[in-house]
Amino acid sequence: MDSWSYQPTEDFDKGPIERLKSFPRHPDLLVYTLRLFTNFVIRAAMKIWHRLEIVGELPREGSFVVVANHSSHLDAAAILSAVPLKKVHRAFPAAAADYFFTNLPALAFSAIVINAMPFDRKENPKQSLALCRQLLDAPGHILVLFPEGTRTVDGTLGRFKAGIGFLTAGTDFPVVPCYLEGAYRAWPKGKWIPRPRKLRLIIGEPLTFRDRTPVKDDAIAIADALRERVAALMERR
């Protein structure tokens, strides 16, 4: 008779808060249940409160990156609404570690509901990009990035930081440019709750940057190219 073997879960010796902070997160029944439920509610709110309209489609298979303009806290939720519900556990919007992972309510929301990846934009962006890379290497993962690095203060599209270029240069990962329209009016920086304004998410054609190399010039070129694509989607409306 085989003897039984016990393998405590990998995050066994961590407390609940530590578990939420650590990344990559280990699958957790309770977190998945809460995430499914809250995302269902968010989708409903997006439909009813913001009359979210999604134009175009995200790739169905493989790992890919979504880049979008960043004008409000609604952005990640709106983009997640374009992902099939059962895939939300494999979609990771990158969120500023210094903003979303410092106090408990924000941590719980970003880790459980949004499934955010903590992105250290100040101290250690390189390490965070390596983490992004690691996520993409696993099959079927969706990484949502806001290359402007912060929310716009005036509604215009800011410069894209070169990180997205370093991440995707010389790889086959498709990068999907998206433009979310209306979020700035719905929830500008500094306001407490979103106003019921219409949102429109325009999903562009995916690009790959196989022939680029991860050096500074190429990275900047990629970032600029992606920004142009997003700007073009903005014009197209």
Partner: protein
């Protein structure tokens, strides 16, 4: 137990005793630390744990029957989750889910009224519940059409539900008793006192190991000392056990004195076999929830059925 906890002399009594104990223990630790310059880190951590646990428990009890049942049900869910994480059963989401639903059912049955008799808590269904949960647990591998390793999952699911869910759930059901405060507070007080007595007697008189392969720090002196203290507790706290005859008081002493030590050792067996020290990290200085309630799980149903048999709820 709904109407005004503070009007209840037993609740008030325990509140005063517990507050006094916290103050005395705190003063003692401070004395040892600052006057005698002793290392009290361990005691301080344990004390800090109590400093949080006691108010949380008292607030739940203060809020009445429903809050108490929900509190203990959440505790059971958390304790089982710790068990599932420690054994690795947590990777089997269906089995874990079935047991969690079973524990929620224990809570719901404690909250509702008996549809036939109209009394608080559906006792009959609570006693029948293991039938349904065991049936559901056995269905999990069948639905998956999988056999390899499933006996272990079934066994862990059964132990998790019957012991940590259902037996512990008796404590929540006690909230439906006419003298709910008396009984719940007695158990919540006497069981940790038994633990502390075992520790203290062991520390001062302990020589011979009690169960060295399971819990190397336990000694015969500790076990006997704890038993003696537990036999005296019902007499000392007679105000908390109204209408108890000497026979009932002796039974209560035996159940707490032996049961809480067996409960402690039962969880230790599991921890030893897995090869871990604590079941979790939630309560600083105490380990996990399961490390704290291990004795209560064993004692609560034994006390419950003794009480119900001789006095009714």
């Amino acid at each position: 137990m709904n109407a005004g906890a503070l009007d209840n002399p037993v609740f008030r009594g325990y509140l005063i005793v517990l507050a006094a104990l916290l103050v005395v223990a705190g003063a003692l630790i401070a004395l040892l630390r600052f006057v005698f310059r002793k290392n009290v880190t361990h005691a301080w951590h344990a004390y800090r744990g109590w400093l949080i646990m006691i108010p949380v428990i008292m607030v739940a009890l203060f809020l009445g029957r429903e809050a108490t049942i929900i509190f203990f049900t959440l505790l059971g869910l958390a304790a089982f989750t710790e068990f599932a994480r420690a054994t690795g059963l947590y990777r089997d989401w269906w089995m874990t889910g079935v047991v969690l639903l079973g524990i929620i059912a224990v809570g719901v049955l404690s909250l509702m009224r008996d549809p036939g008799e109209g009394t608080l808590g559906w006792y009959g269904m609570l006693m029948a519940l293991p039938v349904y949960v065991v049936a559901a647990i056995l269905m999990v591998p069948i639905f998956r059409d999988e056999a390899k390793g499933q006996l272990q999952h079934i066994a862990l699911g059964l132990l998790g539900f019957i012991y940590i869910g259902w037996m512990f759930g008796h404590l929540a059901f006690l909230a439906n008793a006419a003298n709910a405060y008396n009984y719940i507070l007695y158990l919540l007080f006497a069981v940790p006192v038994c633990d502390v007595a075992a520790f203290t007697f062991g520390r001062f008189f302990g020589k011979r190991k009690f169960r060295p392969n399971i819990s190397p720090n336990k000694t015969w002196a500790g076990a006997l000392g704890a038993f003696t203290v537990s036999m005296l507790m019902p007499w000392a706290l007679r105000f908390s056990l109204p209408g108890f005859t000497p026979r009932d008081l002796i039974l209560t002493g035996v159940i707490v004195g032996i049961g809480s030590q067996l409960g402690d050792l039962s969880i230790s067996v599991i921890k030893r076999d897995i090869g871990i020290k604590d079941m979790g990290t939630l309560i600083q200085g105490h380990g996990g929830i399961l490390d704290r309630v291990d004795s209560l799980i064993y004692v609560a149903p034994l006390f419950f059925h003794m009480l119900r048999w001789f006095h009714g709820l």
